[in-house]
């Protein structure tokens, strides 16, 4: 576990990292080093005792779960797919989108008695969604553009992240049903939360205070 007195925060590389840096800046942190990080993966935020680690989304969860990072910023999509035991303390409100069930435009997904095939990058989210409906489906894991699967006739539908819906529209697909909302979340290792309570609560409070601005 990260036993230094510093607080180590894992950020999901890419957009969430930029949004979080902007949030830190509003909270009055000096984020220059975070912005001009070059290829470094561990970056200190001066005079705050905060160390930022940049990682892929699923790894943020792994590092926090094992306690080598005290807290992390990660999308709800990754949390829903990977799950794990950590505290999920705050919704940052950015990175907003949703999981949705989609398919060819104009078709009735629930029609007929055959078992449906779903293509997705998120098999666990998909399984839970249909389990809650008491519906048996075949799930096919796809790594790239899931939209292809129903177009090529591999699946009846897809479960994927939908932001604006433009990709779906351009490919003749439409959302049948929303699965769950997604946004960036702050997660905290349970033991860190107990042993470094004051420091972590301060950071979370600052993030909460500035998230809406």
């Amino acid at each position: 576990m990260n036993d230094s007195k510093n607080i180590r925060i894992a950020l999901t590389k890419g957009r969430l990292e930029k949004d979080t840096a902007a949030l830190f800046e509003k909270a009055g942190y000096n984020v220059e080093m975070l912005r001009n990080k070059g290829r470094r993966l561990i970056i200190e935020i001066p005079e705050t005792g905060i160390e930022v680690v940049l990682a892929k989304a699923a790894d943020v969860i792994t590092y926090v779960e094992h306690g080598v990072c005290d807290m992390g910023v990660v999308g709800k999509d990754t949390i829903d797919e990977h799950q794990g035991s950590f505290f999920e303390v705050c919704d940052l409100g950015f990175g907003k989108c949703k999981f949705a069930l989609a398919g060819r435009k104009g078709e009735n997904f629930y029609e007929g008695f055959g078992v449906k095939t779903i293509a997705t990058k998120y098999p666990n989210v998909t399984r839970r969604f249909f389990e809650a409906k008491g519906m048996d489906v075949d799930i096919v894991k796809i790594e790239g553009s899931v939209e292809l699967a129903p177009l090529l006739g591999l699946s009846h539908g897809i479960v994927d992240i939908v932001e604006t819906g433009t990709t779906l529209k351009e490919n003749g697909l439409e959302v049948y049903e929303d699965v769950s909302p997604i946004s960036a979340r702050v997660i905290v290792n349970p033991v860190s939360m107990k042993l470094k309570k004051a420091a972590i609560e301060k950071i979370v409070a600052q993030m909460e205070q500035h998230r809406g601005e």
Binding site: H66, G84, V188, K194
Partner: protein, 398 residues
């Protein structure tokens, strides 16, 4: 066919030398504490019928159990927990025995964790159960023993944390929400955003008060000041009474232990839910999960078909404790290496025995060559070598 004869299954490991000594050392120390307080040890089978662990009131997730079948096709499980088998014993062999009864165990449990999670599937747990004792007294004793177990890490930062899932249980009953794992996980993970989404429906109704309290519950953790905050938030006489009781236990514990090591978390709930009152956890720095976990379970033993018997207990994760102290364990080299020359093998054994009886660690060298024995001693860090028997002139000439 691919053979897996060179690896151990994921989540298990071979323990060698220092790691092994650290594991045994942690186990022995805890056994010592339990024995010196009058607890009796029990050993239960590693293999049990599945039903012991899975029915309506004792729902250990079936995904987390290793299962197999016996020759009649009955479902069995590698025990995922030691408290349930002990409750089974209470309902059978120890039925009607004199109470209170204090038992302890030190044995492995098995959990099927998600793969690649880096967690142990085989965990050595040492723990106690105080069965049929008066609530206030036995809660305090269990907590004091847990604190003693945490004291084993004298130099590290440790916390013993108290909670009571009665607050949670009362509030969801008040709200008419079913007590299922999905809600417990939201509270347990302090997932305020999702909890708020779930409870929004109650805002503006007559249940708003209870919903607001449930929403505030995960935030009620920290040192003694939590009790004031909780008293302001929890506006039911039942909850205030529960809070006062918990405060009493907390104060008593603070009197016994260093107060800065004791904390409170009213949002503490367990996923596997047989606890009915106080629950507690022990944490140490450098380990990302709780190393001690316990609580009161007043209805569990009754669920095995006998009259209800109140009980409280905890288990300490020996794997974690050993990993945390492992750096400090140095294996002691033997004091003497005994080498017996040809013709003196029995004298060598005899000499070795008498050294061992005198309290030294005496290792008998199993090789033939004297020079090799000296090199072996050097590599093992043994400074004294006893050579038994006269030098044989013939051997030397060769």
């Amino acid at each position: 066919m691919k053979s897996y004869d060179l690896i151990t299954p994921e989540g298990t490991r071979d323990l060698l030398y220092g790691e092994c000594a650290a594991r045994r050392g942690a186990e022995e120390t805890l056994r010592g504490i339990f024995l010196s307080h009058g607890y009796s040890e029990v050993i239960t089978p590693a293999l049990e019928f599945y039903d012991v662990f899975n029915n309506k009131t004792r729902n250990i997730r079936q995904e987390s159990m290793y299962k197999l079948t016996d020759e009649k096709g009955r479902l069995m499980a590698l025990r995922p927990d030691s408290t349930l088998p002990i409750a089974r014993i209470m309902a059978t062999r120890l039925r009607g025995c004199t109470l209170p009864l204090k038992l302890f165990y030190s044995q492995n449990i098995y959990r099927a964790n998600p793969k690649m999670s880096g967690r142990d599937d085989e965990i050595t747990q040492s723990g106690i159960e105080i069965i049929g004792g008066e609530k206030k007294r036995s809660d305090l004793e269990a907590l004091s023993l847990a604190a003693q177990a945490l004291d084993l890490f004298g130099s590290k930062e440790v916390r013993l944390e108290l909670g009571d899932n009665g607050f949670y249980k009362f509030l969801i009953r008040e709200l008419g929400i079913e007590d299922d794992e999905s809600v417990r996980v939201l509270i347990k993970n302090k997932n305020t955003p999702e909890l708020e989404r779930l409870l929004e429906a109650y805002f503006g109704t007559d249940k708003e008060k209870a919903a607001k309290m449930l929403l505030g519950l995960p935030k009620l953790f920290g040192a003694g000041e939590v009790f004031e905050k909780a008293d302001a938030l929890l506006d039911y006489p039942e909850l205030k009474a529960r809070l006062a009781e918990l405060k009493q236990t907390y104060d008593a514990l603070c009197e016994l232990e260093r107060g800065d090591r004791i904390t409170v978390d009213l949002g503490l709930v367990n996923k596997a839910d047989y606890y009915t009152g106080i629950i507690f956890r022990g944490y140490i720095e450098e380990y990302g999960q709780a190393v001690i976990s316990g609580g009161r379970y007043d209805t569990l033993i009754g669920s095995f078909g006998i009259e209800e018997v109140a009980a409280v207990g905890f288990a300490a994760n020996i794997n974690a404790i050993a990993a945390a102290v492992h750096k400090n364990v140095k294996l002691k080299a033997p004091d003497v290496l005994v080498y017996a020359r040809d013709g003196c093998l029995t004298d060598g054994i005899r000499h070795c025995r008498s050294l061992a009886q005198s309290g030294l660690i005496a290792e008998y060298y199993d090789g033939e060559d004297e020079q090799a024995a000296r090199e072996y001693a050097k590599s093992r860090g043994i400074t004294r070598i006893d050579v038994i028997g006269a030098e044989q002139s013939g051997a030397k000439a060769k």
